[in-house]
């Protein structure tokens, strides 16, 4: 009898404590390695600016990242079931649509723009060539619902995911409210994309004094670049994130008005976002419509191809009235050598991001 009371007491005690314990157990678990939902270590490079993404609102976890990765590579997000984000954003080419001038979507439908590289997205103020999207979380809505991309509706995508037992489990693991909804889907994709930080190129190792050195050619290229290009392709992201007209002849096939689509301002016509040049050696073709195949073509454009169109950036109007940025053939070689130091193989080959 004495015994049973004692046992009863212990049971009550533990029942009583359990509530309190449960919570601290969970908290502990958040930091603990045997829980699926451990926070991932998102290393911010010391030579980068502060991220624009509010990481605290959506801290990447192992489960969230894995879910985001599955979504990124899943054709379910498209109407035909075959076009995934990864179809247009291929890791080996810094997540661009390699060799495609403009992106192809469902049933081979042609877009009007070249898929930009996906890297260092958490440092960007807005997205796409014209800055049409202001937050990384919202970006997937564009391809999913665009006719010539994935041509699907968010509602349908959610239904498909809700009917898929594997996704039900993945969402349960990734989000406390165990719900498959738009917010969780978008946040999961962001958790995956957020981790794509490219900051381990030769350039970075030189800048961070990690034992690498530019060779003579690269050094000379850096000097020309800093003088002639870094006004726009500035800082460690190689973009000042402004919108400029860099003097491309207007392609009548698309007549893309650029930033004006977003703002409606004439002053923004033909302006496009200054793109980051990281991993530029592998992200060809170049420019918003993928018109140039090689970096040499790009440099030839700056040297001798710039044309006067509405809102041409004043940088390209020389004192003698000629247009462009004069570059000698040697300077072009040097710039290309320098730009090649921006290739980050550790990023391009990082298993965490690869489809298989």
């Amino acid at each position: 009898m004495k015994y049973s009371v004692f046992i009863l007491l212990i049971i009550f005690l533990s029942a009583c404590q359990n509530e309190g314990l449960d919570e601290s157990y969970q908290n502990l678990n958040d930091e603990n390695s045997d829980n699926e939902n451990i926070f991932l270590d998102l290393e911010l490079p010391s030579n980068f600016p502060e991220p624009t993404y509010e990481i605290e609102n959506n801290r990447p976890t192992q489960a969230g990242f894995e879910l985001g990765k599955k979504l990124f590579y899943d054709g379910k997000l498209s109407s035909t079931g075959v076009i995934s984000c990864g179809f247009c954003h291929i890791q080996d080419f810094a997540f661009t649509h390699h060799t495609h001038v403009v992106s192809h979507g469902v049933n081979g439908a042609l877009g009007t723009r070249n898929a930009p590289s996906l890297q260092n997205m958490i440092f960007m103020e807005d997205f796409n060539w014209d800055g049409s999207v202001s937050h990384l979380d919202a970006q997937p809505i564009v391809p999913i619902t665009t006719e010539f991309e994935m041509n699907e509706s968010i509602t349908n995508v959610l239904t498909k995911l809700q009917n898929d037992e594997e996704y039900v489990q993945l969402f349960n693991a990734a989000f406390e409210n165990d719900t498959i909804d738009t917010q969780n889907m978008l946040r999961a994709i962001s958790q995956f994309v957020m981790m794509m930080v490219s900051a381990d190129s030769k350039y970075d190792k030189v800048v961070r004094n990690e034992g690498s050195h530019f060779n003579e050619m690269e050094e000379a290229g850096k000097a020309v670049f800093d003088q002639k290009c870094a006004g726009c392709h500035s800082g460690s992201l190689f973009t000042d994130q402004s919108y400029r007209n860099n003097g491309l002849p207007i392609d009548p096939q698309y007549d893309d008005e650029g930033r004006m689509r977003v703002t409606g301002e004439e002053a923004d016509k033909y302006k496009f976002k200054v793109p980051s040049l990281r991993n530029i050696a592998v992200t060809f073709p170049y420019m918003h419509d993928g018109r140039y195949q090689t970096l040499r073509d790009v440099l030839d454009h700056y040297d001798s191809g710039v044309v006067q169109t509405q809102n041409l950036d004043s940088v390209f109007i020389q004192e003698n009235g000629q247009l462009g940025i004069p570059l000698t053939e040697i300077e072009k070689d040097e710039i290309i050598a320098y730009l090649n130091t921006l290739t980050d193989d550790n990023f391009l080959l990082d298993d965490r991001f690869s489809e298989f």
């Binding site: 005690l13 919202a138 509602t155």
Partner: protein, 258 residues
């Protein structure tokens, strides 16, 4: 024996300690009395209820028009009581699409509001995208998408979708179209609107008040600013006219009955 009593007492003590914790939680919750609020939106032209498709209305500038479609987004509802205290309705549940064509969409019911005497309401016209990502705003995407209130190229919300036909001395039955939202981070067309009630609204668990809010369509064209359809009948991403339209709309709502 003494020990047994002692242990039993201890046991009971723990039991009480244990359960009283839970008990206070429950009491805490039920101490705050909550109730519901019903808001009816009535789209009007002047004092008349709006009739889609059939009726021709006269507007400023001698133009006439018919309306085929009227939709707008209401968000971020806040109630203010007689003391000036605010009750902020949970943001995530605070996005509503009012569609003239769909009767149910024009009545919204808010639940679990603190019982109180309220004197005014504040709400947003559109979606406050400058503060993105607002909690839950993404979960409004499916509804907005199904009602074509989303620009797929920018993932931006259309705050207003207003379409119809118009006639002037020179032309008859030309289509017109106003699709208004914010322009990326460049121009914020979200607006906040505050309306005072005619008399304090007593909200309690047993009393669900009804609030009737009118939206006068003709003010879209004619309030602080006068817009002529013959000047421009397709207004979408328009940094000059879009803000005029939303400014006009801040004057278009009024309490018609409460």
């Amino acid at each position: 024996m003494k020990l047994r009593i002692y242990i039993t007492a201890l046991c009971i003590a723990f039991l009480i300690a244990c359960s009283s914790d839970n008990a206070t939680d429950v009491v805490d919750d039920s101490q705050i009395e909550v109730g519901d609020l019903k808001i009816n939106f009535t789209n009007t032209v002047g004092d008349e209820p709006l009739n889609l498709n059939t009726q021709t209305y006269v507007k400023n500038g001698g133009e006439t028009y018919k309306v085929n479609e009227l939709k707008y987004i209401i968000s971020n509802i806040v109630l203010t009581d007689t003391e000036g205290n605010q009750f902020v309705y949970p943001q995530a549940d605070s996005y509503f699409l009012i569609n003239e064509e769909v009767a149910q969409s024009k009545t919204i019911t808010l639940d679990s509001i603190d019982a109180n005497n309220y004197t005014s309401i504040t709400f947003g016209f559109g979606v406050d995208q400058t503060n993105y990502p607002l909690n839950g705003v993404d979960n409004f995407v499916p509804e907005a998408e199904e009602s074509e209130m989303l620009w797929s190229w920018s993932a931006g919300y259309k705050f207003l979708k207003f379409e119809g036909t118009y006639s002037t001395d020179e032309i008859t039955d030309q289509p017109f179209l106003y699709h208004i939202g914010s322009h990326g981070q460049n121009l914020d067309n979200y607006r906040e609107i505050s309306l005072n009630f005619m008399q304090p609204l007593a909200l309690s668990a047993s009393n669900t008040p009804e609030l009737n809010i009118g939206f006068d369509v003709q003010k879209i064209f004619n309030s602080d600013f006068q817009l002529l359809l013959s000047d421009k009948d397709d207004i979408q991403i328009d940094p000059v006219n879009a803000p005029k339209i939303v400014d006009n709309i801040t004057n278009a709502f009024e309490i018609i009955l409460n």
